[in-house]
């Protein structure tokens, strides 16, 4: 049997993974949800045919979106996670004893159900007593929150489909309002490589720059995402991601990671020239 999952990374580029079997397929109110088992990447989750995570490389994404802000902010107590139905971000956050409250807002309950059943490696901490799950639109949830979080992690899907509201200026503005004065927002920032993705990346950056005084971008290598070169956004009202990095404090926690180190933290903010150019272009616009 020759069974493959394929995703178009651009109109003219296709990425394929050999599939052993399909574990789940369903249509929720918002999207089509599939889980596959593959020889190379283990189990993987797709939404509307777009790769969300594989068991083999999810650690890169989840460590980088979580530990970078956690190593900068001196005292994270209250965290809001938007999206993240697979539970990977929650798993990483739950490793910090001093985090007191994690609100997770996911629009699609069916994604969480499917991940609990088929992806226990990421969904393992969803029942932690500090976690409250809200099944609603992230844009709606955050509208009424003010000055109550130290960290917001935006673990969104792509800027089209159900996640598009999480790439808008009204969303970032509301995030700024929901954060305390020294709060940090980190977001999934798309890839700068293929043209269509680069435009989305620029638009997101422009809107974040308009909403936060400090707005930097960092990168990671994620093999199953388009081009493999992926960005994250670090936005804050007070802390600088490098100047306020406290390596000793974080290393004293003795959290063992597979990708993140405080040395890599510093390197991740040194981005390629063409990406710098891309971002600078929208920073200076009007």
């Amino acid at each position: 049997m020759d069974l493959w999952f394929s995703e178009a990374h651009s109109a003219d580029v296709k990425f394929s993974i050999r599939v052993d079997r399909q574990l789940y397929s369903g249509q929720s109110e918002f999207q089509r949800i599939d889980v596959f088992e593959s020889p190379e990447f283990g189990r993987f989750l797709t939404l509307d045919g777009y790769m969300m995570l594989t068991e083999k490389d999810e650690f890169i994404y989840h460590e980088m979106i979580t530990h970078v802000p956690m190593a900068v902010h001196p005292c994270v107590r209250d965290v809001l996670v938007i999206g993240a139905g697979d539970g990977g971000v929650i798993r990483e956050l739950c490793r910090y004893d001093d985090v007191e409250r994690i609100d997770m807002v996911e629009i699609d309950p069916q994604v969480v159900e499917v991940c609990r059943q088929y992806l226990p490696k990421t969904a393992c901490s969803l029942d932690d007593p500090r976690v409250s799950i809200y099944y609603e639109d992230g844009l709606r949830f955050i509208r009424s929150r003010e000055d109550c979080y130290d960290l917001i992690i935006v673990d969104s899907t792509d800027p089209f489909g159900p996640g598009e509201g999480l790439f808008t200026r009204e969303f970032y503005g509301n995030c700024s309002k929901a954060l305390r004065d020294d709060g940090i927002m980190v977001n999934q920032h798309e890839s700068p490589f293929y043209d269509a993705d680069a435009v989305a990346c620029q638009r997101a950056h422009k809107r974040i720059v308009e909403s936060f005084p400090i707005s930097k971008v960092y990168q990671a290598h994620i093999p199953t995402y388009p081009s493999g070169h992926w960005l994250f956004g670090f936005a804050s009202k007070k802390y600088h991601p490098l100047r306020d990095l406290n390596e000793k404090r974080w290393n004293d926690r003795r959290l063992h990671c597979w990708y993140y180190t405080t040395t890599l933290h510093k390197g991740a903010f040194y981005i390629p020239a063409y990406v710098e150019e891309l971002l600078k272009h929208v920073e200076s616009a009007d």
Partner: protein, 465 residues
């Protein structure tokens, strides 16, 4: 169908204009054809267009339905032209669309304005009360017709059933401008439609809430109207090259509404109710609805209209309108001095509503001010000195706008949208009107109508009238 085209249009199914074909798609340009025997003729329909009109009449509960390709403007003009000739009076509210005024310039009818009450808090014109219409009818027994907005741009309805019976009992016709009321024919729990209320004609903007292509529209007639006569009137001004793209969009939209309209508008109402409750929870904004209904000037309210008063946020509606577009990539229908209108339709989804509500919340947080310094939009009672037609064609002179107080205007001044005339030809200019024009310009409303595009000068009748 492989017919060799040796007729217009000259692009010949798009072959002669490859850029146009690339832009619109082959299917679209191949449907852009001329009237021909198998495709009937809009000027004198006997086959497929006639069938489409009959199906539309059935769907809307009308005696006849005319497919219109010149916008609802042409449907409104045809209603007026079919009703009044030179010197005939028509009773109508001041907040009529400019197309009604245009029709009166064309046919020489004389307007008898009924003062729509004005809501002081919202600063918007309302509906005509049945009592005010009755007074106008009694004072003008020779009037030919009463024209009613069903609803207004803001969603306000007059007591149409009572006005119809008042008009009929005095031998007058009742015409309805239903540019914003297509959904009344299909939704549940919405205000009464003109045909159901017994009106004689209604201009229905299928391209607004009905979902057809821009510029396509319907003119509905009741049993008292003579179809052949109305058709003759329509043919006076309507194109002889009716677009089959527009016609087919009307037919397919009629089908969609007949099959799925009830369910579709139920969802629109749900979305609108949800948006209102969320917007009202932000604070400052007032998304108004049925609570305004007072049995007279607001007899009913169209709950699909998401009209929001912005004055307590300290911003003019037009300012919020601009901020939504410039800062948040959200284009709404209009902003006037005190209100905005977001048009909800069968194409909306909850996620777009969340964006709108969140953006409004951000606009308030980032740009909100105290309320002081905002002038309300007030009803200015017009003084009709001469008929619109007479003024429009009379000898006139151009004066700096500041020097025109007391003179009779010979052109339109419109604040657009919502397209309600501030001045119409034949009306006396007052100091209050000039103040309003200055203020609306300063607030960024788009002012149209006069010959001078900057509206620094106005044309007035020569000599003192």
């Amino acid at each position: 169908m492989r017919v060799v085209p040796f007729d217009v249009p000259g692009h010949k199914r798009g072959r002669g204009n490859p850029e146009l074909t690339a832009l619109l798609g082959e299917k679209c340009v191949s449907m852009d054809v001329n009237s021909m025997k198998p495709l009937d003729n809009l000027c004198h329909p006997v086959s497929v267009i006639r069938q489409a009109e009959e199906l539309a009449a059935e769907a809307f509960g009308a005696a006849h339905a005319f497919l219109m390709v010149g916008g609802t403007t042409s449907a409104v003009q045809s209603m007026v032209l079919a009703t009044a000739k030179r010197g005939d009076k028509i009773i109508l509210p001041r907040n009529v669309h400019r197309s009604v005024m245009g029709a009166m310039v064309l046919c020489g009818a004389i307007p008898v304005y009924v003062n729509p009450e004005c809501d002081d808090r919202l600063g918007i014109p309302l509906g005509m009360t049945a009592a005010a219409v009755e007074r106008a009818i009694v004072q003008n027994p020779d009037a030919k017709a009463v024209l009613v907005n069903n609803p207004t741009y803001y969603g306000i309805c007059s007591d149409l059933r009572t006005i119809v019976s008042l008009a009929h009992s005095h031998g007058m016709l009742c015409l309805a401008d239903e540019a914003h009321g297509t959904h009344f024919y299909f939704g549940e729990g919405l205000p009464v439609s003109a045909m159901a209320a017994g009106a004689d004609m209604a201009a229905v903007s299928m391209h607004k809430s009905g979902g057809s292509l821009t510029q396509s529209s319907l003119l509905l007639t009741g049993p008292a109207m003579q179809e052949g006569h109305v058709r003759q009137i329509i043919n006076l001004t309507q194109t002889t090259s009716g677009s089959y793209l527009l016609l087919s969009s009307l037919d397919i939209s009629r089908r969609n509404l007949a099959l799925r309209g009830r369910e579709a508008f139920r969802r629109v109402v749900e979305l609108a109710e949800y948006a209102r409750s969320e917007i009202n929870a932000i604070g400052g904004y007032y998304a108004f609805s049925r609570e305004l209904v007072n049995g007279a000037s607001i007899y009913d309210f169209d709950v699909t209209k998401l009209s929001v008063n912005t004055l307590d946020v300290g911003l003019a509606g037009i300012e919020v309108y601009d901020l939504l577009r410039d800062e948040y990539d959200i284009q709404i229908e209009f902003g006037d001095l005190g209100n905005i209108l977001a048009y909800l339709s069968i194409g909306d989804r909850p996620r777009e509503i969340e964006r709108l509500v969140s953006a409004l919340s951000e606009v308030r947080r980032r740009f909100g001010k105290s309320r002081a310094g905002l002038m309300k939009q007030e009803y200015i009672d017009p003084e009709v000195a001469v008929s619109p037609q007479e003024a429009f064609y009379a000898q006139s002179e151009s004066l700096p706008i500041e020097e025109t107080a007391g003179r009779v205007c010979s052109e339109f001044v419109m604040c657009y949208p919502p397209g309600i005339p501030i001045l119409a030809p034949g009306e006396r200019i007052t100091r209050q009107i000039l103040d309003y024009i200055r203020y609306a310009k300063a607030k960024g409303c788009s002012m149209t109508g006069p010959e001078d595009p900057d509206i620094l000068r106005l044309n007035v009748l020569k000599g003192g009238v």
